[in-house]
């Protein structure tokens, strides 16, 4: 059994039909556990008090914002190389979810920043590069909506995703030279000794898994909807020109 089997829209939709119930239940459980555990069962931070708890929304949404873009990049590459329609539609379906995650990360970050740094916004490299990422999501979605009814939309948006990825990465390093950081360094990393304490770490992991599954579920459902929409369009065309 090969991964490419699911390039067939019908097979893909059947897979989604089967996966979605499990994914939804698991996502809800993980999110509920992660957030409830994080909000009510962990101690306050000795300096940040209870405001630290917004981390259970902020970090997972920020991770998803980046990961969904990477997923879109992979899907666009697959579309450009192998021309599987499902892949292109998956990238289209994922973009608004990614934009939403970026917005959540920015908003929770602003709320956290207001209480900790005393300001809603600072021109910190991390904050700025997230704003740029948000702009790229908007551009990508705008391109799709403009060419909604045309065949060329998949190719054009895949190319924009490719070019945009390079420039988003470039901006990420350009803002590093441009401004000093206020944001703390990475909370989670595999190779450093000064990670977040275990008390916060495990609920955070649950919350991240929950966010990942929620994103996955929404992207799958949206892709299925896109495929069905495409099918209806084709049927419609056939009816019009017998």
């Amino acid at each position: 059994m090969s991964f490419w089997k699911f390039a067939n829209p019908n097979r893909f939709n059947r897979l989604v039909d089967r996966l979605v119930p499990y994914c939804t239940v698991l996502a809800v459980i993980l999110l509920a556990v992660g957030i409830a555990w994080g909000f009510f069962l962990t101690p306050d931070d000795y300096r940040q008090g209870s405001t630290v708890k917004i981390i259970y929304l902020h970090v997972p949404s920020a991770m998803m914002a980046i990961n969904i873009w990477i997923m879109m990049l992979a899907a666009s590459l697959i579309w450009l190389v192998r021309r599987h329609r499902v892949s292109s539609l998956a990238a289209k379906a994922a973009a608004p979810v990614g934009a939403f995650m970026t917005a959540i990360a920015l908003i929770t970050g602003a709320i956290w920043g207001k209480t900790m740094w005393g300001t809603w916004w600072a021109w910190d490299p991390r904050l700025a590069s997230f704003l740029i990422l948000f702009a790229f999501y908007l551009a990508y979605v705008a391109l799709w909506t403009t060419y909604e009814d045309r065949e060329s939309a998949s190719d054009l948006s895949a190319m924009l995703c490719l070019v945009g990825s390079v420039f988003a990465l470039l901006s990420r390093y350009a803002v590093n030279i441009w401004s000093q950081g206020l944001h703390q360094p990475a909370t989670l990393s595999l190779d450093k000794e000064t990670n977040i304490h275990d008390v916060f770490y495990f609920p955070l992991l649950a919350s991240i898994a929950g966010f990942a599954l929620v994103s996955l579920t929404i992207v799958l459902v949206r892709t299925r909807t896109e495929i069905r929409k495409r099918k209806i369009e084709i049927l419609h065309c056939q009816e019009l020109s017998p």
């Binding site: 551009a139 705008a142 391109l143 403009t146 190719d155 054009l156 490719l162 901006s171 350009a174 803002v175």
Partner: protein
């Protein structure tokens, strides 16, 4: 290729809305900004590089519409796409023409517009130098944006929405060069990165851009 370049230059210079318009916009923009700010020259000095750079980005954005539109309307773009000259080369010619007619004049004008902001001569020259180094990237990125929005007709909002995020690295590094030079800091690294963005954009963007043009022509 040479013939293409000559044709592009002639068309841009002779077209009514072409050559002078971006320059005029740049001038008007830079004159307008101080009216919204304090009148003291000392207060205008520190935002001046950013304003002059932003003006340049906006003027280049304005000039993008004409890169492909005329050729698309009269059908010569399809003709060009079927000639033995690769479409990539056509796009390079268009990028160069756009830079020379829209980008370069701005760099010269910026030296004089800097006077309105009370900038000393050496800082004005640095603005000019950083614009010369950075505007090729704007032209390259802009041509890509123009070829993406080709099938959408004239005057769409898609073009700026796509192009503006792509301008961010150039804008950051371009203003950094000027600001660091004004403060007497080392600029070599920043300046080299800015130049490399321009060179890399000019080298790689034609492929992406030609792909987009081809796609738009195929499906239109």
């Amino acid at each position: 290729m040479k013939g293409l370049l000559v044709k592009e230059f002639k068309l841009t210079i002779r077209s009514k809305s072409g050559f002078g318009l971006a320059l005029a916009f740049y001038g008007a923009f830079s004159i307008l900004v101080p009216f919204g700010m304090e009148t003291r020259l000392s207060a205008l000095q520190s935002p001046a590089p950013a304003i002059l750079w932003l003006g340049a980005v906006l003027s280049v954005l304005l000039s993008l519409d004409r890169i492909f539109q005329q050729d698309l309307v009269d059908g010569s773009l399809e003709r060009l796409a079927t000639t033995p000259t690769p479409l990539e080369a056509v796009v390079v010619a268009k990028m160069i023409a756009n830079w020379v007619t829209a980008g370069l004049p701005l760099c010269a004008l910026a030296v004089f517009l800097g006077l309105l902001f009370g900038l000393p001569l050496d800082e004005r020259i640095w603005i000019c130098v950083s614009l010369v180094a950075g505007t090729p990237a704007l032209s390259a990125v802009g041509t890509f944006g123009a070829s993406l929005s080709l099938g959408q007709g004239r005057g769409g909002l898609l073009l700026p929405v796509v192009v503006i995020p792509l301008c961010v690295p150039t804008l950051i590094l371009g203003t950094l060069v000027v600001n660091r030079a004004a403060q007497g800091l080392a600029i070599q690294t920043v300046f080299l990165i800015e130049i490399s963005i321009s060179l890399a954009s000019f080298a790689l963007m034609p492929f992406a851009s030609a792909y987009a043009v081809r796609t738009n022509l195929e499906y239109s």
